[in-house]
Symmetry: C2
Subunit: 308 residues, 2 copies
């Protein structure tokens, strides 16, 4: 049997670790299981933000400047949309529309999100397997002081300004893991949890009972990379959200949130580290490809130490 | 009652006459009834080429150079589509996608094509009513020496190269005229038939029995503008198709094809003219706005002479 590795990930920050892992692992030995709690329909098109961010990042098409979307993107669609008086709170780039339109057509023809995602990854020659966490709909909702908001309304339209009281995942009780998800967690050398927002981007995966159970039962070590850097998140609302939920903005709080199944945590050089699990320290800020490799290697090394 | 005028039209050539008519008629006195036989789904998106050409032409957004699509169009969507290995025989511009995506979402939400088209026309402040010929599906199929082809495959993919044996309109027996179509023909000062391809772009409208009956029964004069100029079509396959169908490429053949309900025909300056109906002559080549006005005025004047 070939050596396999698995990573659970959300979008932007997570995709950087996944990119780092593909740089140090043999081609096609990595499986990324991706959050789909952010997925939604917009103008009827099925948008899968985290899957697409991963596809763009891994194929070298991600927009470094914006931090999301495609390099060299154009916005002619949005301009015509505006001229027609339609709502423009969610930006859809012209090139980006290809994934949404093709995904919509394929879903309507009966293909699963897994099959469609694999087709995109193959067309772009990606050196890993990309799996949605589920082919069933799981929708992240954020209960805030301004009411209950679908994830994208909270994240994009309201720019994470409302105070979060609770996060819930509609459909997770009925959702099945996508084909290959459970075996990827059970039969691998190590499972990594990418430095995505634990409450918004990783919890949707954990809300599917079979995925959480697999993390508890796998013989492989499970190592997370913390999204905190000197007590802040690089991007996104992790620290703000932790404070709003009444938590200390610490790695200890993150480790406690994940629970006993987490075996190791990679933390930023000078940050706090809980004494309840194995720790590795490195500069976890990932800007250059070298940064991504360094953090991936720290996670790999920690997993190797933990291998039972 | 206000004075009303009605025009039956296909895409590019027809849209030029419609534009000319709006230049000489009082605002909001014109109703354009548009061919939807070319409509089809592509990657799940509902494309209405003739309606969109009319909307772009009338709002000053049409691409003069290409002769179709939007001015200043970009093609990022197509580039990504190609990178994914998808078929690219039908060009969808980035800005153009807005109409298709919004139409798809609105149709899925239960709106009719009429309602959606009216919304677009209103958003762009068009000075006329734009009606699809029907809210029901009527699909133009072309029987050729290379087999039976859906219209867009014949027109775009095969560039009208196959020899046409017959044209048929799937669904026309069951299709109802869109709301307002029959009253627009029955209660107006004049009905114009735009210089669109009679067999491919006007016949779909005539294939709906209630529309043909209304043309026969209206008290308003019905005046067509011939698409032939010195025995050729300005654009598109009219002359080639007439020859393939075993017809003389003449205005007489076009008048005969339309039938008794046609009261007048505007022909190009030196072309043949049948003696079976009223004729007006002008230079029917429409390049500048002045050209469009001139041809529209010739049609209006002929209709005025014929008013019973």
């Amino acid at each position: 049997m070939s050596t396999r590795f698995t990573v659970l990930t959300g979008g932007v920050g997570g995709a950087k670790l996944v990119d780092g892992l593909t740089r140090i692992l043999p081609p096609h030995s990595l499986t990324a299981i991706v959050n789909t709690g952010d997925d939604f329909r917009h103008f009827g098109l099925p948008i899968s933000p985290d899957i697409d961010t991963l596809l763009y990042t891994l194929s070298g098409q991600s927009n470094q400047e914006l931090g999301w979307g495609r390099e060299g993107e154009t916005w002619n669609f949005m301009a015509v949309l505006r001229s027609l008086g339609e709502e423009d709170w969610f930006n859809l780039g012209d090139g980006d529309l290809a994934l949404h339109i093709l995904r919509g057509a394929a879903l309507a023809a009966g293909d699963s999100l897994s099959v469609i995602t694999a087709r995109f990854a193959k067309a772009w020659g990606l050196p890993l397997s990309v799996l949605p966490m589920s082919d069933d709909s799981v929708a992240t909702w954020v209960a805030t002081d301004e009411g209950l908001l679908p994830f994208q309304r909270y994240f994009v339209e309201h720019r994470c300004a409302p105070k979060v009281q609770m996060v819930r995942f509609e459909g997770s009780a009925e959702a099945q893991p996508a084909p290959g998800v459970i075996s990827a967690i059970m039969a691998c050398e190590a499972v990594f949890i990418a430095p995505s927002n634990p409450w918004l981007s990783v919890d949707p995966l954990l809300s599917i009972a079979a995925i959480r159970t697999a993390l508890e039962e796998t013989r492989a070590p499970v190592v997370a990379v913390s999204p905190l850097i000197t007590g802040k998140a690089v991007k996104g609302p992790t620290a703000k959200l932790m404070a709003e939920l009444g938590l200390d903005v610490t790695n200890a709080a993150i480790a406690y949130h994940y629970g006993d199944w987490l075996d190791g945590l990679v933390v930023h050089s000078e940050d706090d580290a809980p004494d309840t699990l194995a720790i590795a320290r490195t500069n976890t800020l990932m800007i250059s490809p070298d940064d991504r490799e360094r953090v991936a290697r720290a996670a790999m090394d920690l997993a190797a130490q933990l291998t039972r």
